[in-house]
């Protein structure tokens, strides 16, 4: 049973204040949004398109970058190499950069004068004001969440399991896909969800790269700056609800699918 000592009471009050600070603005926003205007916004094609764009672009960015980022995380967890601490610092850089500054930096890289922009232009793709540019902006600011979480997951896999698999004749690639990856799976999924979530909520970097087509955070800002708070609020509430539903679903999926490569069963039973 909880004992109401003075110290515990102080902890309780301080914790409640922090929680209130987090919950109150969101709760206020929900309470101030009328049911009618909420459903009007939910039926608004422009809002629907922007939320859908946000979800699929962030998911695609996370998925595509994960293909390279997950093996990179294994490398960081397992291998020592020169300037490893600098590499780890570079990975964390997007977290500390102002996101508008990140957007500006990325713009120089993907605009028609930049290396990637020029290369994309040759293939007839403009990365500016394009979902692919949005995906790059989202990935730029959210990659550390996936890499760091996956790296911690790989580091927690006992190295002797990988050594045992090697001694049983498995190739390095087979060891990675049958031992390291399945055992680090939870951390990788957590990192995946975090990167996806961070990408969805990104505004600063995306708005520099692509005001149009509008992702949900840009649309909310656009409605606020053009029409005011009451017009932006229902879109914000809708986006928050959709985001919560998507994260919850992803979490449930990751719980169900604990070990994707698990059962190599040759038993008679």
């Amino acid at each position: 049973m909880y004992r109401y000592t003075p110290f515990n009471l102080i902890l309780l009050v301080l914790s409640s204040l922090v929680l209130l600070f987090l919950v109150a603005p969101l709760l206020g926003m929900f309470l101030q949004t009328g049911v009618g205007e909420f459903f009007d916004t939910a039926n608004d094609k422009e809002v629907q398109a922007s939320i859908w764009l946000t979800i699929w672009v962030s998911f695609s960015a996370t998925f595509l970058f994960a293909i390279a980022a997950v093996p990179f995380s294994w490398l960081l967890a397992r291998k020592s190499f020169p300037m490893k601490s600098i590499v780890k610092g570079i990975i964390d850089l997007p977290v500390v950069l102002p996101h508008t500054a990140a957007g500006i930096a990325l713009l120089g890289f993907i605009s028609r004068d930049g290396i990637l922009g020029k290369t994309a232009a040759v293939a007839g793709i403009s990365l500016i004001n394009n979902p692919s540019g949005i995906a790059l902006a989202m990935a730029f600011v959210s990659l550390p969440f996936l890499i760091n979480s996956a790296r911690d997951g790989f580091a927690a896999v006992p190295e002797r399991l990988e050594k045992a698999a090697l001694s049983l004749g498995a190739s390095r690639a087979r060891v990675f896909f049958t031992i390291s990856l399945p055992l680090a799976w939870r951390s990788i999924v957590t990192g995946f969800v975090m990167m996806f979530a961070r990408g969805m909520s990104e505004f600063g970097a995306v708005v520099i790269i692509a005001y149009h087509p509008m992702i949900a955070p840009v649309l909310i800002y656009d409605r606020f700056s053009s029409f005011g708070l009451s017009y932006a609020r229902p879109a914000a509430v809708l986006f928050i609800i959709v985001a919560l539903v998507v994260f919850t679903l992803l979490r449930i999926l990751s719980e169900i699918r604990k070990t994707p490569f698990a059962k190599n069963d040759y038993a008679d039973s």
Binding site: L161, G169, P182, T259, Y266, A267
Partner: protein, 352 residues
């Protein structure tokens, strides 16, 4: 045959230095050493998990020093078994065969066969999370044996097994060795070495300090470290002298041991095995060569009976079986006689 020629390897601050080994086919080689002595590192070098800085490793006439681990045909069972927790027992055992090159029917047959040999057929469909130490041990062995290794490396295989299961595991390992499998078994436990080894090596601070048959190593230890490993607890610093045509060893000018004739150096350590010393309540009617009166200082129960500490000018540790202790019960401060033959005294040369 496995041959290690002048193997050295640096692991941070620790070095394996100048390791030379020759292990012929069918040998049960036990490498004895304390934790941190380099036993596991040496096994990993042989298995191919690490490469030596210098030296060569030869197996059956082939230089495998630079050969990939996957091509060596050397099985390694880790100390904590390293069972894959994301697979069932059968998945673990079949791991080496499940890369797509072997048909499912053959895999199933081989898994069933090795599981039957190791008496774990009933575990095949089970998750590995709730298996006992002994069961995990058998799964790890089955997983390695299914690869038909030329050489089996065991890293402290009894470390996580209940005492009651150790005999079963020893029987199993002895059986594998009798079928012709060469085994290198690393342990810190002298009893394991005595009961399993056909050849023993003692490793200390990254160097193999003594090698030979168990009898050679434990009867004629080259230094105090090896002697301690073989369970010897009686060490006396002595000076050797020849008195009246007989060799004696004088300890601190207090005790004079009669020793068998030999070419002793001037001084050194004299060792006595605890079970070579006889203890009697009265002076023995037959003096085997050395006989001293002492006082019982401590009686400690041990696995096989009692360990009695006797003060006879120097401390002597004597092992007494449970039956003998029942017949002649002793108490602390009792006066007793200890006796042993001159041949029981082992001379260690030098100051070590």
């Amino acid at each position: 045959m496995l041959i290690l020629k002048n193997i050295s390897k640096k692991f941070g601050d620790f070095h394996l230095t100048d390791i030379d080994l020759e292990i012929s086919e069918g040998t049960y080689y036990v490498l004895l050493g304390r934790s941190g002595s380099g036993k596991t590192q040496l096994l990993e070098l042989i298995a191919g998990l690490n490469k030596p800085d210098t030296g060569e490793i030869w197996l059956d006439g082939e230089n495998i020093t630079k050969k990939k681990i996957q091509g060596r045909s050397i099985g390694l069972v880790f100390q904590d078994y390293a069972i894959f927790p994301n697979m069932t027992v059968s998945g673990n055992i079949a791991y080496s065969l499940s890369s797509g090159k072997t048909s499912r029917t053959i895999i199933k047959e081989k898994v069933s066969k090795v599981a039957a040999e190791l008496n774990i057929t009933h575990l095949l469909g089970r998750d590995t999370h709730h298996l006992s130490g002994g069961e995990l041990q058998r799964v790890a062995l089955a997983r390695t044996l299914i690869t038909s290794p030329r050489l089996l490396l065991l890293d402290e295989p009894m470390a996580s097994v209940d005492a009651s299961l150790k005999d079963d595991i020893k029987r199993l390992l002895r059986g594998l060795n009798r079928k012709g499998l060469t085994i290198i078994h690393v342990t810190h436990d002298y009893a394991e070495a005595v009961s399993l080894a056909t050849k023993v090596g003692v490793i200390h601070n990254g160097r193999i300090i003594q090698e030979g048959s168990p009898d050679d190593v434990f009867r004629k230890p080259v230094n105090k470290f090896v002697a301690r490993y073989s369970g010897i607890r009686n060490f006396f610093r002595v000076e050797y002298k020849k008195e009246s045509e007989k060799w004696v060893a004088v300890c601190n000018d207090k005790i004079i041991f009669n020793v068998s004739e030999n070419l002793y150096p001037k001084e050194g350590l004299l060792l006595l095995r605890s079970d070579d010393i006889k203890i009697t309540p009265a002076m023995p009617s037959f003096n085997p060569g050395n006989c001293f009166k002492g006082i019982v200082r401590e009686i400690l129960p041990v696995g096989y009976g009692m360990e009695i500490t006797i003060d006879a000018g120097e401390r002597f540790y004597v092992d007494v079986s449970a039956d003998t202790f029942k017949q002649f019960p002793l108490c602390e401060l009792a006066e007793v006689w200890i006796s042993f033959s001159p041949e029981a005294a082992i001379a260690l040369q030098g100051a070590n």
